[in-house]
Symmetry: C2
Subunit: 97 residues, 2 copies
């Protein structure tokens, strides 16, 4: 069964704790632009997160060029943002710190 | 020194050999959409290519969501498509085959 989407209060609370993540215009996804010192560090971050994402069975949309990684998170099955997105976003912040 | 960009003949020859790669509208990059059976295979492809790209010191622009990987190649220093792009594109086709 699809996870319920976060309500406005839950979303505000989640975003307040997720440094650097922004809500999309349609309110259905969150995104962040990460910057690293070089490609190896950017792709190293992606590799860590790929393993986490696969274990969660919740995958990011992401774009990489050289030292930049732009991530968008949404829960397609639920049509919006769920606790899975907040959890993966928090893991990404921790890994990039 | 920046690599010279491919001339029209060289570019046509390269594209004829690069199955699935398309020239961008401005003629300054080539791109291809790869599709895999699942995320692990898509990201496995990216991991192989990340190591190749780092060794070549020539990095892709790429977008991934689940089993799809969309790649754009250009040589920024040269302002267009060079033999580095053709070489990396060929390596990607081989890895995805």
């Amino acid at each position: 069964m699809a996870k319920p989407t976060l309500n406005q209060d839950e979303l505000n609370t989640a975003l307040a704790e997720l440094e650097g993540w922004e809500l999309s215009g349609d309110g259905k996804s969150i995104s962040k632009k990460f910057k690293f010192s070089n490609f190896v560090n950017a792709f190293g971050f992606m590799t860590k997160m790929a393993i986490v994402a696969e274990k969660m069975n919740h995958h990011p949309e992401w774009f990489n060029v050289y030292n930049r990684v732009e991530v968008t998170l949404t829960t397609h099955d639920s049509g919006g943002i769920t606790e899975l997105d907040a959890k993966l976003a928090a893991r990404m912040n921790k890994a990039a710190a």
